[in-house]
């Protein structure tokens, strides 16, 4: 589903953010990218949805080399992926329903489809009955659920999550993790960057560890260390 071949990414002239990264993520897998801040986790995610382009190497997503994709094709690439962030990135003046609907609206989905899919996905993430709330009226965990609902409402092949539990207390973080696990069980490939030991150790999934831009460990059913 995702394949990186000898990928290097530099920011400015100092040491590379990612150096010579090569790995494969098969369809339906759940992968943790772990490592301290600045080790290149977020950069790897940004390379996968082409928010960044590598200086060297190739990134393949769903069988296509995305570095060679025309800019006009990028929106269609991104429609096959959902993104979840540490700071949720919800639109503060839109309700829960509108925030999720927005993702469908801007890719031109007809209204009746939106009216069908949004309540379904809100139900899935456990926010049924809170459709009309504004983001600031929700707890952090609930806001992250909205953001997951928005990422998943279009049934993407891939879900990219950057520190989704970073702002949450452990109990709330657990809830988010079981939600991501449930999404993964529907066949969606999940790549999650985190430095949260507890979630990695509790889940026992594949772990790719980074240190200063270099992959130092790639382990099935790993722990954080």
């Amino acid at each position: 589903m995702i394949r990186l071949e000898n990928v290097s990414k530099m920011y400015g002239s100092d040491q590379p953010a990612v150096r010579d990264a090569t790995f494969d993520v098969p369809k339906g897998e759940f992968v943790f990218l772990v490592g301290p801040s600045g080790s290149g986790k977020s950069t790897l995610l940004r390379l996968m949805n082409r928010q960044e382009r590598p200086e060297r190497g190739n990134v393949w997503v769903a069988g296509r080399n995305i570095n060679e994709m025309a800019n006009s094709q990028i929106p269609y690439l991104r429609r096959t992926m959902g993104n979840v962030f540490q700071d949720y990135k919800l639109l503060p003046n839109k309700s829960v329903f509108e925030n999720v609907a927005f993702a469908l609206e801007v890719i031109g989905k007809p209204r009746h489809i939106i009216g069908q899919q949004v309540p379904q996905v809100l139900d899935l993430v456990g926010l049924a009955g809170k459709e009309d709330r504004l983001p600031h009226q929700l707890s952090g965990g609930e806001q992250q659920r909205v953001s997951i609902a928005r990422a998943f409402v279009n049934r993407p092949l891939i879900l990219l999550a950057d520190e989704p539990t970073g702002n949450l207390d452990p109990a709330t973080g657990e809830g988010i993790m079981s939600l991501l696990d449930a999404i993964n069980r529907t066949g969606t490939t999940v790549v999650m960057a985190t430095h949260d030991h507890r979630v990695v150790n509790a889940m026992r999934r594949r772990v790719i560890q980074l240190d200063r831009g270099v992959i130092v460990r790639d382990q099935e059913r790993g722990v954080y260390e």
């Binding site: 800019n71 690439l77 993104n83 639109l91 927005f102 993702a103 801007v106 279009n154």
Partner: protein, 301 residues
């Protein structure tokens, strides 16, 4: 498709309201600049009515009585052609009654009384004469000589009638064109800035839109429409202003004494309509292009 169009309109409207002060400033500036552009066109056209008689270096017009005999007409023509040293003979042009009548309609455009008295039978025909000499005294003595010919109704000299107007019209044109160009660029810069502010205000939204796979055009179109509508609104206001100005002027001119030349400074409605359509096109284009460039530059999509 309808979904997308309604989305674009909603966003345009919301953004316009959010930036109401900047939007209004942009609309007013484009209105004022376009009003000036339009006024320049109208003034030029009005002055042109006065100058139409003298187009092509004509320095002297010999008016021939409408009841002239063919012999007298030939005699006048021969007289003109017998002075090849002072008069540019190949450029002598005879305007018959029909031609003179058409011309008079423009010269007396704002003077309904005179116009109603004119008819194709009572109007004098005319010889347009281009003098070779620049010596005004010589031209004057020539004019005096022609006045005494049988069948000549009168002789007009360009330097008596239109030198001042011609200078004035050239000056007014230069000033108004320069001012309207400056104001038009200010309007485009203001529209540009409004769009930049609108994009900045919505940068979070735009980031999310990009991440969920909205196409560049989908993101851009509301901004481009916003600029286009600002330009178009400005143009509409300027058209209203221009129409009001022109109506006031046309009815005011009717009060001037005939023969002062002021009554010529009137434009036909068809010309006014043409100018207004041009203003609408200029306004919409300037707004659309300004915001299109701004949105490509600042959206970074």
């Amino acid at each position: 498709m309808i979904q997308r169009i309604s989305y674009a309109f909603r966003e345009t409207y919301a953004s316009f309201r959010r930036n109401i002060t900047l939007s209004v400033a942009a609309v007013i500036t484009s209105a004022v600049s376009l009003l000036l552009v339009g006024a320049t066109f109208l003034m030029q056209r009005a002055f042109d009515n006065l100058l139409v008689q003298w187009r092509g270096d004509v320095g002297m017009i010999v008016f021939v009585r409408p009841d002239v005999t063919p012999e007298a007409l030939t005699f006048i023509e021969q007289n003109l052609k017998s002075q090849p040293n002072v008069i540019d003979v190949p450029k002598i042009k005879y305007l018959d009654k029909t031609g003179s009548f058409e011309e008079a309609k423009r010269v007396f455009a704002g003077d309904a009384t005179t116009l109603s008295l004119l008819s194709i039978d009572t109007i004098p025909s005319q010889f347009k004469v281009v003098p070779k000499t620049t010596d005004p005294e010589l031209v004057r003595s020539l004019a005096a000589q022609y006045r005494s010919l049988p069948g000549v109704a009168g002789v007009s000299l360009a330097e008596d009638e239109f030198d001042v107007i011609s200078t004035l019209s050239g000056f007014v044109r230069t000033v108004t064109i320069a001012m309207s160009l400056v104001l038009l660029s200010v309007a485009v810069i203001l529209i540009w800035n409004t769009i930049r502010t609108a994009i900045f205000a919505r940068r979070r939204e735009i980031e999310v839109m990009k991440l969920v796979g909205a196409t560049d055009w989908f993101i851009r179109v509301p901004f481009i429409m916003e600029g286009l509508i600002q330009g178009l609104l400005g143009a509409m206001v300027s058209c209203l202003g221009l129409w009001g100005l022109n109506s006031a002027w046309t009815s005011g001119v009717a009060g001037f004494k005939a023969g002062t030349g002021v009554s010529s400074l009137v434009v036909p409605d068809s010309y006014l309509n043409g100018v207004m359509i041009a203003l609408l096109i200029i306004g919409a284009t300037a707004g659309g292009v300004g915001s299109g460039v701004a949105s490509s530059k600042f959206l970074d999509v």
